[in-house]
């Protein structure tokens, strides 16, 4: 049963939204998926809305996806990237945002390296805030598009087996995915080297495995994460080669399962490391569908938040 509007005016994380919110976002995203497959992929709903994309961290995929979603809703878009900005001159986060808001911006999509930055902002400003990733905390839109893609393939996710592979410790995608899938009633298992799995992750209601083949055999969906080299200041794994030997997913492994499995990856893929090229391009993989769904899901979120008075 879905609500008729969202219970919150921001999207800060999956942990703050309800199951009904998630269902509403999925239903609205179904409609937007139809829109982005039309000859003219635009609807005028957000024509009086201005949205600022504040990306304090590098991103290509998420930023383009959000920008496309905003433009397809006919919103006006303003982009801000930290590398070429006043942040280098030492301006505080609040000052940067308030300056932008004084130019009458209605919504803010923010990616920031500090966990909790969007939540902090939400306490101080009036605009709707969407978290596009805050450090190692959450990445709610990615989890929603992942779950939407799984639902497209499997239907209701209740009772389905979903496995997340890779660097769980540093992954905001993993955390948001776990929250979202648990809310939808799925069984979740994380699999990776023990050094990359947080100590108390079982408290979230997930199982832990260190065996890739067993986990692949168990799951209906394998969501494979990138090894996050840029977040690792100490050595968690001996080498990339060793990770690939023990935890990489390759064609031989997938073929040996002799069953239907869905392979997902939030991108960008380190081909040959966590996922081999031929698996990423195989008929099991829905990686490109995830990207298409990402625009539809983000359009749904922007539409629902903008309509919240």
């Amino acid at each position: 049963m879905s609500a008729s509007q969202l219970s919150t005016k921001h999207l800060l994380g999956i942990k703050y939204i309800t199951k009904e919110d998630i269902q509403l976002i999925f239903e609205t995203a179904d409609n937007f998926k139809e829109v982005i497959n039309r000859p003219i992929k635009k609807v005028p709903s957000l024509r009086d809305v201005t949205i600022a994309n504040l990306f304090f961290e590098n991103s290509t995929r998420t930023r383009i996806s959000f920008e496309l979603a905003e433009k397809r809703l006919s919103a006006d878009v303003v982009n801000f990237s930290a590398s070429s900005s006043s942040v280098k001159k030492g301006e505080t986060l609040l000052d940067t945002v308030n300056n932008i808001l004084s130019m009458k911006v209605d919504m803010v999509v923010m990616r920031h390296p500090a966990p909790g930055a969007p939540a902090f902002l939400a306490q101080h400003i009036d605009a709707n805030i969407i978290n596009a990733g805050d450090g190692t905390h959450e990445h709610p839109t990615q989890a929603l598009l992942d779950a939407f893609s799984m639902r497209e393939q499997l239907g209701d996710l209740k009772g389905k087996n979903i496995a997340i592979f890779g660097d769980i410790l540093h992954s905001r995608v993993a955390l948001s995915n776990i929250f979202c899938l648990k809310k939808l009633g799925a069984n979740v298992k994380v699999c990776g080297p023990p050094t990359l799995i947080p100590k108390y992750i079982k408290d979230l209601g997930v199982e832990v495995s260190y065996n890739v083949k067993e986990t692949l055999q168990w799951c209906d969906v394998a969501n494979v994460l990138r090894i996050q080299l840029e977040r690792q200041d100490i050595k968690y794994i001996p080498s990339i080669r060793e990770y690939t030997q023990y935890f990489g997913i390759n064609k031989a492994l997938v073929d040996s399962l002799n069953k239907k499995i869905i392979i997902m990856h939030p991108g960008p893929i380190n081909r040959g490391v966590e996922l081999s090229g031929d698996v990423a391009d195989s008929e099991h993989s829905i990686i490109l569908k995830q990207v298409e769904n990402g625009v539809a899901v983000r359009m749904a979120i922007l539409f629902l938040l903008a309509g919240k008075r």
Partner: protein
């Protein structure tokens, strides 16, 4: 909701639908280059009924039929107090160069039809677009829009609410007038 005043029901309702169908046949013959597009929600129910009746009368198996949802094209999205929920749009044929008969149950301010025309443009360029409505509330218009095929004209105050009920939904075929939308 209080019980509304019945304007038209059952046999006279069916007679009106028949008359509308025959008006369409007069203009479009066997519907080889025409299509019906119903505006969600009420227009879809009506378009469905019209399509079925046309197929019965003409004895043909297929008339092109689509559903158009206008939620994303509404001009009151950001000023409303109540939330909006979208329905499905299903137009699995090309409207390019076709005679489109847009169908809605009640023509009130005309804003739904304006939204529908904008939405339709995003699917292609029809040869002609004509509007069919069951009810025309001719003095409540906000925009210069008129209906080409009308079931019945009802003159009512702005705040009055006209509802069309369909047998397909488990109700009786009827047009009801309420003093206000509650």
């Amino acid at each position: 909701m209080k019980k509304g005043k019945v304007i038209l029901e059952q046999e006279r309702f069916v007679l009106t639908i028949d008359r509308l169908c025959h008006q369409l046949i007069e203009d479009y013959d066997d519907f080889s280059d025409a299509c019906l597009i119903g505006i969600q929600l009420g227009g879809v129910l009506m378009a469905n009924r019209i399509q079925q009746r046309l197929m019965d009368i003409l004895g043909i198996k297929d008339i092109l039929y689509g559903k158009l949802d206008i939620t994303f094209y509404r001009d009151d999205f950001r000023t409303r107090t109540t939330p909006l929920k979208a329905n499905t749009t299903e137009i699995d044929f090309l409207v390019e160069d076709k005679n489109v008969i847009l169908v809605d149950d009640v023509l009130y301010t005309g804003r739904s039809v304006q939204a529908a025309l904008t939405a339709l443009q995003h699917y292609g360029r029809p040869k002609k677009v004509r509007l069919m409505t069951m009810v025309d509330r001719r003095f409540n218009r906000h925009l210069p829009i008129f209906s080409d095929y009308t079931g019945i004209r009802i003159d009512a105050l702005d705040e009055a609410y006209v509802k069309v009920e369909w047998a397909e939904e488990g109700a009786t075929d009827s047009i009801l007038l309420f003093a206000e939308k509650k």
